[in-house]
Symmetry: C2
Subunit: 160 residues, 2 copies
């Protein structure tokens, strides 16, 4: 896989790796082989989980494919508050798979999950991602790869 | 492009054409070259428009990427009613681009557009799709290709 170095902070260099569609497709296939529960709705964390949600919806023949949004507010220099909005109507679903491309700090997934659990205390939520960083504050139920590098997903790069 | 024939009704044969990711990417690039208005939010008609919305959001650097759902109820043998739900909160946006993969009968796009216009009468809505059938009851503001055939999108096929 081609890569080059990118400067994250002034003293830190991270490997920057392009993640092409073909690898995404193969990893998503792997993810479906790992997921060992039944679910009846898929919820994408926008924007990262949208393409995954579409393909998984087709694969599992689930039309209940929803999206949820988050926005971060910088409250102080160090503290960021996450607002979760556009919470979908889940009346017809009991078991919901939440998907995102990468669980990095884990802040987003944790905020989404706790918002959904408090809105829908009687439903079951599962979480899946392509990438996971072991330093995250939450671990998805299923993931495909550990993220050591800076990943440039095809959806960010291919239209440039 | 490889294709084979598929029987739609007992007397109708349609060409069935596989639509790979690379063609999607190129067509989406073409779509961005056609769209000649400014917009500040992207709304995917789920499931068809989800991957498009993610890539366009990245391309235009728009984080306001939302989804909307529709479901069809068969009321009589001939009449189908479309329910539009999970209408996103659009308070921070004025010009919204609605995207879907294909405008076929046009029923979905028309229902989505009229629901949104009645909920948000002061906002501007634009519509874009990859494929458009000239027999549809609504024509998107921008599209890339005329659909003559039965299109098997990569997101429906590639995980099988």
């Amino acid at each position: 896989m081609p890569f080059f170095w990118v400067s994250i902070h002034k003293d830190i260099l991270m490997k920057k790796i392009y993640y092409p569609y073909d690898e995404f497709r193969d990893d998503l296939k792997t993810l479906t082989q790992k997921i060992d529960v039944e679910f009846d709705a898929i919820l994408a964390v926008a924007r990262g989980g949208l393409s995954m949600a579409q393909m998984l919806g087709e694969f599992y023949n689930i039309r209940e494919v929803y999206a949820i949004n988050t926005i971060g507010y910088e409250e102080t220099q160090k503290l960021e508050t996450l607002k979760v909005f556009n919470i979908p109507h889940l009346a017809t679903s009991s078991n919901i798979l939440i998907v995102d491309d990468i669980v990095d700090s884990g802040d987003t997934l944790k905020a989404v999950l706790s918002t959904l659990k408090s809105r829908y205390p009687d439903k079951f939520f599962y979480t899946a991602s392509l990438f996971y960083k072991p330093t995250a504050i939450i671990k998805p139920d299923w993931y495909v790869k550990i993220a050591d590098d800076w990943i440039e997903f095809f959806w960010s790069e291919d239209l440039r």
